[in-house]
Symmetry: C2
């Protein structure tokens, strides 16, 4: 089923693009270069415009598909739930409905489920592009060298949280980033209004599957991955995490202990990257969770962790902090926290969060 959907998605992606007029497309199908001015804001607009134009193509495609009766209805289901490829497969798009169990007590989608949905769309995009050999996102050259991609850093900026029952539209693509890594970007919109709700970027580095040591991004691999990468500016200004480790004994440091559970693990028997967000929230003072909204989170993943580990989730407010980042909601009342998740003295995760009062 997965194979059928994937190849179908690829074909559909091409059909979409052939229906779009050249000047209205936001990327060149052969090179992935942006033809519009290479600016995040314009890029966002470009994606939105191409999407509106693509809608009528989707309608006509779905109309055609349904004439093949039930087998093709099956594929339609697959398409609408698995998502579709745009711009010759460089951009993956999916719609989903926010469920009750994905929502917190404020009836807004939780950061945990937002990150899970981002990760899920990445897997679907890679599968749709056929970038699956021994692992997800691996190329033949990577497999030969025993290398895999691991998440180094994740940044999520929430302008507005999707609510329970909202239909949201997610778009994602990848770019080269620096010498030895690549970046994946996401934009999440309210499907009805088109309003941008969430922007996110994730930075991946190469690791040897056996030695767990970081590796160089060899030219052969870059050539293999080039056809799948879009050339675009970042949609979030990258934030660097502080270089010093949090001190549990420092004044103002909040510490919560917890034990990792079976349900925190992913399919690789490691604590799921999204679960660390729950650990970070457990280590955030309760009064802040009640009065403030989590607007931005930047997480740096340092070490993997398994089940039954005793963790300390530390948090500490940063005062007199100057934020020059135009993407942040810079308010007088914002609070910025630094976080650290530690197990047996070893730091697993270091993070920064930005909080804005519910009253704003």
């Amino acid at each position: 089923m997965a194979a059928v959907s994937s190849s179908y998605c690829c074909n559909l992606g091409k059909k979409f693009n052939s229906n779009l007029k050249k000047e209205q497309r936001f990327g060149d199908s052969n090179t992935g270069n942006l033809q519009l001015k290479n600016h995040p804001k314009l890029f966002l607009e470009g994606l939105r415009t191409s999407n509106i134009i693509a809608k009528s193509s989707i309608a006509s495609e779905v109309r055609k598909i349904n004439s093949y009766e039930s087998r093709n209805l099956d594929i339609t289901h697959g398409n609408l739930t698995m998502g579709e490829l745009l711009n010759d497969g460089l951009v993956y798009q999916r719609h989903f409905l926010v469920k009750s169990y994905e929502s917190g007590p404020d009836k807004k989608m939780t950061m945990f489920f937002i990150i899970n949905q981002l990760h899920e769309s990445k897997l679907n995009h890679l599968k749709s592009c056929g970038l699956v050999t021994t692992g997800l996102g691996t190329t033949p050259e990577m497999t030969k060298r025993g290398l895999i991609w691991v998440v180094h850093k994740l940044q999520v900026v929430v302008d507005q949280y999707p609510s329970w029952n909202d239909i949201v539209q997610l778009q994602t693509w990848s770019c080269f980033y620096g010498k030895n890594s690549y970046r994946r970007d996401w934009i999440v919109r309210n499907y009805k209004t088109g309003q941008v709700l969430i922007r996110a970027s994730c930075f991946y580095v190469l690791m040897n599957r056996n030695t767990r040591k970081l590796s160089k991004f060899y030219d052969e691999m870059k050539e293999e991955m080039n056809p799948h990468f879009l050339k675009s500016d970042p949609i979030i200004e990258e934030e660097n995490i502080i270089s010093t480790k949090l001190d549990v004994d420092a004044k103002g440091c909040n510490c919560t202990s917890l034990v990792t559970r079976l349900s925190d693990l992913d399919m690789n028997h490691h604590v799921n990257n999204a679960s660390y967000i729950n650990f970070i929230l457990e280590g955030t003072p309760r009064w802040m969770l009640e009065s403030h909204r989590l607007s931005t989170v930047t997480v740096k993943y340092l070490k993997e962790c398994g089940v039954d580990k005793i963790l300390q989730s530390l948090s500490m407010p940063i005062q007199n902090d100057v934020i020059s980042n135009g993407n942040y909601l810079v308010k007088e009342n914002y609070i910025k926290l630094h976080h650290s998740i530690v197990s047996e003295g070893i730091e697993l995760v270091r993070a920064t969060t930005l909080w804005t009062p519910y009253s704003i």
Copy 2:
């Protein structure tokens, strides 16, 4: 958006039924009585048959809808993700794709996410039927008396777990049950093969919203709910939970301590019913989780619980147990466990699980 989808679903449900021949329908649209022989097996077949017939109707409906361009594409998305009503709204049906984060290390959907999906479909069914006043599933008479429905007991029988990327079909409906409660049933199938994967039943009782005391199911409410209830036999033989409390000091009793987290809570600030399944699994010996598959779970909910509570998850094997239930996988090697979740000496949940070896 939700309101549009709901009314649309209702209309679509009626259209489906008007397209089905009378003798092929499994229920009477006016009374909800089964016209086929009132037997679980036949009932299952009936649902399956009506569904196959409905497929071509879905195709033609979707074809019509898409001619209205983007606004209606929006509704199509809503329909395919929100689900649809069958048999004049008595049965709710939805399809979903099993996601990576819903899957455990064995790449099978976890019991936690299965239960969350069941609960989600219940909410969608109630909303589609308009049974939402002050709370979900409440009628005007219930609101007048300050009553709400609470889950008393949940039974889930898994014949085969859905795998990551499977498209599954879920159908659910409600029936009167005894004097003072009602039952909701679910059937989950592999959408491609039609194979029944999961059957589940949940039993609800009335509670006063303020006093938290159980209440009688008054005749006025029964009249209000009658049009929404199907008359059908159970799809699982009901299992009664043992009446004695587990003793933590008894020989063979396994005890795991844990603390409830913010992420365990639902929108009502109580521990989510599905989270207790994770607590039950934490209290199950690890060797069993590695060698056996959870086939059946029956959970009785006794008390609500909030965040930061220290819990003990107890489990104890039951030997020489005779199971006469035809629905169970009765194997020589099966293991049956009794469970109890306790907080400060108060029992919150009592449960039974049945485990079959992975080798079978």
